[in-house]
Each structure stands twice: as C-alpha cells, then as structure tokens.
C-alpha cells in the first residue's frame, strides 16, 4: 500500500525529536526551576551517604525524568573500591 515509502528519503521528524530530547534534557538542568531541586537532593544525599561511606563529591549522579503519568528520580552513588571507611 505504501509505495511512497519505498522511494522516500530518510524522514526528518525523528531527527527533530531526537535533537529536542537531547537539548531539553540539558536545558532543563541549566535553566529549569527543577535544577534547584536536583541540586538540593544531590547535596543532601551526599551528606547522608558520607555519614557512613567516604565518597567523592562527583560520586553522586542524579537524573530526573518527567513523564506524563509518572516521573522518575534516578540516583547513582559511586562507592570507591576497598579501603574506604565502610560502615
């Protein structure tokens, strides 16, 4: 039925979509009101984990994804190999 698609070049809408997703993920962090929340969470999580384990300042990664039904908060804490003051 869709004979057209045979001859079609690569479509541009998926490119637009991908560019926007990458750009906005970045801009929301820099410009959005939400950046404050992520920054605050990051500091507090860092403080709590540090009470028990020695971790680097950069050892905590926080990602927030907005969804229509549900948003997710992804927290990744990097714990350096042995020798750290474990609890």
């Amino acid at each position: 039925m869709n004979l057209m698609s045979f001859f079609q070049r690569r479509t541009s809408a998926p490119v637009a979509r991908e560019r926007l997703q990458i750009l906005l993920a970045h801009e929301r962090g820099v410009l959005g009101g939400k950046s404050d929340l992520v920054a605050v969470l990051r500091e507090e999580i860092l403080a709590v984990v540090r009470r028990h384990v020695t971790i680097e300042q950069e050892g905590v990664q926080i990602k927030m994804n907005r969804g229509s039904d549900m948003s997710t908060l992804e927290i990744e804490v990097e714990i350096p190999a042995p020798a750290s003051a474990g609890a």
Binding site: M4, Q8, A13, A16, L23, R28, L31, G33, K34, S68
Partner: protein, 271 residues
C-alpha cells in the same frame, strides 16, 4: 468561581491570539460570561482578530493606572453579548503594567466574568510573566516544530516556578494545544507527531488544531474562527478543547476538512 486562563507559548506566531479568540468565543458560545484580555502592550492584535479594532477607546493600562474605569475599557462583542474584550495599549511601554495593578484588574474581572482569558505576548519578559502570573489554568500553544517545542518547554518551567500558584506550592493546571498540525505530513515522517510532542513536553493534551485555510479566512474578516465557521475542522477542535477545559471527557481526534472532488474543483469560497 471565575477561572483565569492564560494562553501562552514562548515563541511568537504559533497561534496564541488566534487561539485566545477562538477559545474565548467557544467558551462564550456555551453561555458563560467571558472576557479576553490582550497583554501584548505595544503590539496589540487581539482587537483586530476579534474585529473590534475601531472600537478601542481605553485599554488595560488606562485601567491599571486608574485613568479609566474597567467598564469604560471593556468592549462588548457585537455578535455575542456575553463575550468582552479588554484591549492592550498600543502606545505605552510594557513597564506601565504593574503586578499589583494587574492583580487588581483581574480581581475586578473575577466578579463579573466566568472566564478570564489572557492572551500572552511572545517571549519570557514582563508582559508574558504578568499574563501568566495569576493564572489558574494555562493553555500552552505549540506548533509541531523544534523551536516552538523548545520554547514551550521553557514556558512550562516558568508556569511551574514563577506563577502565584507555584509560589504558594500549588499547581497551575497546564494543557497543551497543538496548532497548525498536518496529520498527513506527520504520518510521512516530515513533521513531529502528536505523541512526539507529548512525550517531550509531558503535559496533557487539550486539543489538536489542524492546519486550515479557515483560520486565515476568519482573521481576515475579524472574527474568531469558532464564530466565523463553527463547523470547520479547526473550530471543531477548538470546541472540543473547550469541553475538555470544562472537565468533560472527549475523545481526541484531528478533525479534517474533507473535500469531495467536486468541492476541490468548485468549492473555492471568497472571504
């Protein structure tokens, strides 16, 4: 209880004023008392789209500054008696709008109307932030196009942080109105699809307005499209959007102006 609705977008030229007029008239069609306000100080156009450009005597800034009474500035629509317009000033600069002044005018309007529809200027400066400042509901007008989607994302961020509701820890109810949509091009992969935009912006959809000649035809003659051609595809979409705004559940569709071959050949109307 009156509702303050802001029609906003960030980017210019996506259809804020057209949509303000169309939604305002569609709301009024249901019998409720509606006022549409132009916040675009210096570049007013809602008066022109509503066909009231020759009836403007006083404007929003005159009322804010106490130079005119609200009733002197309100222009009642000639076609619908329950639809009014509060025009923007063409000469003053936008700093003449103060937050307290706008709040006072909106409070006065809340006593007289059921819906107060604020047409925001483009951008994220004073006029735009004041238009959204006191909103209960926001309609974010977006074209399926990268710069419009990006700017809408910024505006959504502002609605969540810089409005009175946000500062009180409440939420402004946000809705996406996708305008100038062409389902055929979207299907061919030449235009962002509804789902793409929804996934990126993550706010609920209030309507999809198809690209249509009727929109220009209506603004040419100074009439909201929902009044000028109420059965056309864009009008159907605006009327459905209004029903959703009022809380009804209406199945989402992209209305089209179906034309028969005969219509295509002979159906050209002059406007």
């Amino acid at each position: 209880m009156a509702k303050v609705l802001v029609v906003t977008s960030g980017k210019g030229g996506v259809g804020k004023t057209t949509s303000t007029a169309a939604l305002g008239a569609a709301l009024a069609h249901g019998g409720e008392k509606v006022v549409v306000i132009d916040f675009d100080v210096g570049l007013r156009n809602l008066d022109l789209v509503m066909g009231a450009e020759r009836r403007v005597v006083f404007d929003l800034i005159n009322v804010v500054q106490g130079d005119a009474k609200l009733n002197q500035a309100l222009i009642r629509d000639k076609r619908m008696e329950n639809l009014s317009l509060l025009p923007a000033s063409q000469t003053r600069d936008k700093d003449a709008l103060t937050e307290e002044g706008v709040a006072r005018v909106l409070n006065e309007l809340r006593e007289k109307f059921d819906w107060i529809v604020c047409d925001s200027p483009a951008g994220i400066e004073r006029g735009a932030t004041l238009a959204m400042r006191h909103a209960d509901v926001a309609v974010v007008v977006t074209n399926p196009e990268v710069s419009s989607v990006r700017d809408s994302d910024r505006i959504i961020g502002l609605l969540d942080s810089k409005t009175e509701k946000a500062e009180k820890g409440e939420r402004v109810e946000k809705h996406l109105l996708l305008t100038r949509y062409d389902p055929i091009r979207a299907e061919r992969g030449e235009m962002l699809k509804v789902d793409d935009v929804l996934e990126i912006l993550s706010i609920p959809l209030i309507g999809i307005i198809p690209e249509s000649e009727e929109v220009l035809r209506a603004s040419n003659v100074g009439s909201p499209v929902t009044l000028n051609s109420p059965t056309s595809a864009p009008s159907k979409a605006y009327f459905d959007a209004v029903r959703r705004l009022k809380g009804e559940t209406v199945e989402m569709s992209v209305p089209t102006d179906k034309k028969s071959l005969f219509g295509k050949l002979f159906g050209r109307r002059a406007a």
